[in-house]
């Protein structure tokens, strides 16, 4: 398929993932496996960029009108945007968030190109297994300290992810995990590892859907969206808030590199700082403040490209959706690092498309937002469970394609009780541990062989 088609499909599906709260980018990437299984590395990255960028546009629309955050980074839109919507200025909240997102994307491109030559030089000179091990340990374990309510619970969930990742035959180091305890002889397919797709459906998608379903309990909105202002009015309004947007972009670029929580921290921190300034300067509007909203939404979008850098340069993901993407990159046996992305010239193509995607999303979002009232007629709970059932069907399909349908469905069903328990924990921790386990153990083993072998 053509690269353009991946961009168009990614943009459209990103819109959908932003519209359905709780589905998010990770689940959308997961559901896209049939599309990505034969894609090139460039197409996979283009598709990913399209999804994460366009979902920001539709996500802030839904957060503003429905008051439900699609992801934790949408909280400022829920607070300020929804207040503005209820006060009758929701149209400006939405347009300014969208314009801010485009500006954030452009600032991110400038920031990335400023640091890229230095980053590559550093990687070339110093990136060996020792450094890789340190980054992997930080990227995987930091999630236990940055997310959720209890560190102990997080460590337990992380350990489960590692345990599941170890099941079967491990290659570096070469061993079969717990051969006397795990019944490999009765179920020989276990030797070939647990398949990624059913594990993620049971232990990430299922608990996330349960969590989102709970958010919709008692949810209702009757107010309709309307916009009687012209495009010029919206641009004039944005011009008044452009300083907040630039501040948000700067935060987004800096904080986007914090593993796992980059986008949510950049968005919420930008919001908090802008609010503090607003109160200090007596500009903050407690009935819905547009400056804080613009700062947060801009930060969110500039994070999108910046947070992709560790994956593109050294192949280490720092968010759940990136980890999912890396899972697919590994399945397709591609190598992702600065040689295959930057030095091959692919990165330039990615950046050009990133700008196109943001402009395209903006142009699409503008006319589409007028039809957002239709969403109020849709039962979101049905949408959520429909997504879940679709993914179960996809699991079966992928099982058939691998001649292992019974194995895929058995793994999915056996892990569902654990997934049900995970609704009270952070399922993302388990997913990261499961996907990165083999890289972490391989790096540790290589470290041991080099220094003590």
């Amino acid at each position: 398929m053509d690269d353009t088609l991946f961009v168009v499909l990614g943009t459209l599906l990103g819109f959908i993932s932003g519209i359905i709260p709780g589905v998010g980018n990770t689940i959308m990437i997961l559901a896209s496996y049939p599309l990505l299984k034969d894609a090139s590395l460039l197409q996979m990255l283009l598709y990913y960029l399209a999804i994460i960028s366009s979902s920001q546009f539709s996500g802030s629309v839904v957060a503003t009108i429905f008051g439900v955050p699609g992801e934790s980074s949408s909280l400022p839109a829920v607070i300020e945007g929804n207040r503005m919507f209820r006060g009758g200025t929701g149209n400006f909240a939405i347009s300014n968030a969208a314009l801010g997102s485009v500006l954030g994307a452009l600032v991110a491109v400038v920031a990335v190109y400023s640091v890229l030559p230095f980053a590559i030089e550093l990687i070339k000179k110093f990136y060996n297994n020792n450094i890789q091990l340190v980054i992997l340990v930080l990227a995987t374990t930091s999630i236990c300290f940055l997310m959720g309510k209890s560190i102990l619970q997080n460590i337990f969930v992380f350990a489960i992810g590692i345990f599941l990742g170890l099941i079967g035959t491990n290659y570096v180091p070469n061993f079969i995990f717990l051969p006397d305890i795990i019944p490999y002889q009765t179920f020989p397919l276990l030797l070939t590892d647990l398949p990624l797709f059913p594990v993620i459906i049971s232990l990430y998608v299922f608990p996330v859907l349960l969590q989102t379903n709970a958010m919709f309990t008692g949810f209702d909105t009757v107010k309709k969206y309307e916009d009687k202002n012209s495009f010029v009015d919206h641009c004039k309004e944005f011009y008044k808030n452009i300083a907040s947007s630039l501040r948000g972009s700067a935060f987004g670029c800096f904080i986007g590199l914090v593993p796992h929580i980059g986008s949510s921290v950049s968005s919420n921190l930008s919001y908090a700082i802008e609010k503090k300034f607003g109160i200090k300067w007596r500009q903050y509007n407690d009935k819905g403040d547009i400056k804080t909203l613009v700062a947060a939404e801009t930060a969110n979008n500039s994070t999108g490209l910046v947070s992709l850098l560790p994956l593109i340069l050294i192949g280490i993901p720092i968010s759940a959706s990136e980890a999912m993407l890396l899972g697919y990159i590994d399945i397709n046996n591609y190598t992702i690092n600065y040689e295959t992305t930057v030095e091959s010239g692919m990165f330039k193509t990615l950046v050009i498309w990133f700008i196109v995607i943001n402009v395209l999303s903006f142009l699409l979002a503008w006319p589409l937002v007028r039809y957002v009232n239709i969403l109020q007629k849709i039962n979101m709970k049905h949408m959520l469970w429909g997504t879940g059932l679709g993914l179960v069907a996809l699991t079966f399909y992928l099982g058939v394609k691998s001649y292992e349908e019974l194995y895929y469905m058995s793994v999915l069903i056996c892990l569902l009780p654990l997934g049900y328990w995970l609704r009270k924990a952070e399922p993302m921790i388990l997913m990261i541990a499961f996907i990165l386990q083999d890289k972490l153990f391989a790096s540790m083993h290589i470290f041991y062989q080099i220094h003590y072998g």
């Binding site: 034969d38 297994n129 030797l191 046996n333 083993h445 290589i446």
Partner: protein
Amino acid sequence: MTTKIKAVAFSLMFSVLSTFALADKPILDVTIPSSSSGNSWAEGNLLSDALNRMGYDSKVVHTKKCVNNLNYMSKDTGRPAVFVRSAKRYIKDESRDCKVEITDKTFLTVFYKRHQTMCIRSDKPFTTISNFLKGKSRVTVASTHSLPDGIFNSLSQQTGVKFVRVSYKGSKNIIKGLIAGDTDLMYSGFTKREIGTDTINCFTTSASKEVGGRVPMNKLFPNWHLNETGSVKYFHAVNIPEDRLTKVKADLAELANDIKIKPYLAKTFMTPGKDIANGRKVFDSHVSIILSTK
């Protein structure tokens, strides 16, 4: 309107004739029990294209892993195929209890023998192996995880320098490990990648004679049991009717002269199967050498 009807009728006739033309061609697919990228995938496509050029109806069947491949081979798909299998893959499959038995009927012919090589970083000075090892008590060697344990033990005993094997997943990562400075040496198959990467210097091969100015390993390490061991790949018959076996064997041997396969083999100094007498014996011997049972 009449023109349109004529065009439709012509198209239908053309497609029916094409189907009959295709039906006349003997079928011979290529099964690949690995990912849809990398060396095996590229080789599968290369072979399938060559078979099509030879007059076969051939496509690549991508079964991803041994278990799936085993399932595919046990099914009567109505499409005979060849499974391109290396000695290393055979050992790996056996160790994972995914046995695909080799018989005189299933072992068709050797595809090629690829030589092994040893490389160092090109920015490090290298004159002779004894100079390289001089003053060192240990040398770390990047190699693929699929090699059996203890392959460098005898080398350590003979040279008095401890050869420490550092296992990487995949041959791409071996080169990266060496360039990044993780290891002193690397040991891997002699492919286009090893030849084309100018940041590494591959100074020896497992060929019995000098290849492209590279000294044979049997001169550097005369007593090492792996000094002439490379990677041998053979064609395994999948559902090929007995009466077609002889013709298929002859055609597979002839593939080495194909316009695309010939330069592919020559570029990396591989020995084509048609130049290897008694292929089955060579393959079995390679398996036992790798397993160090010889």
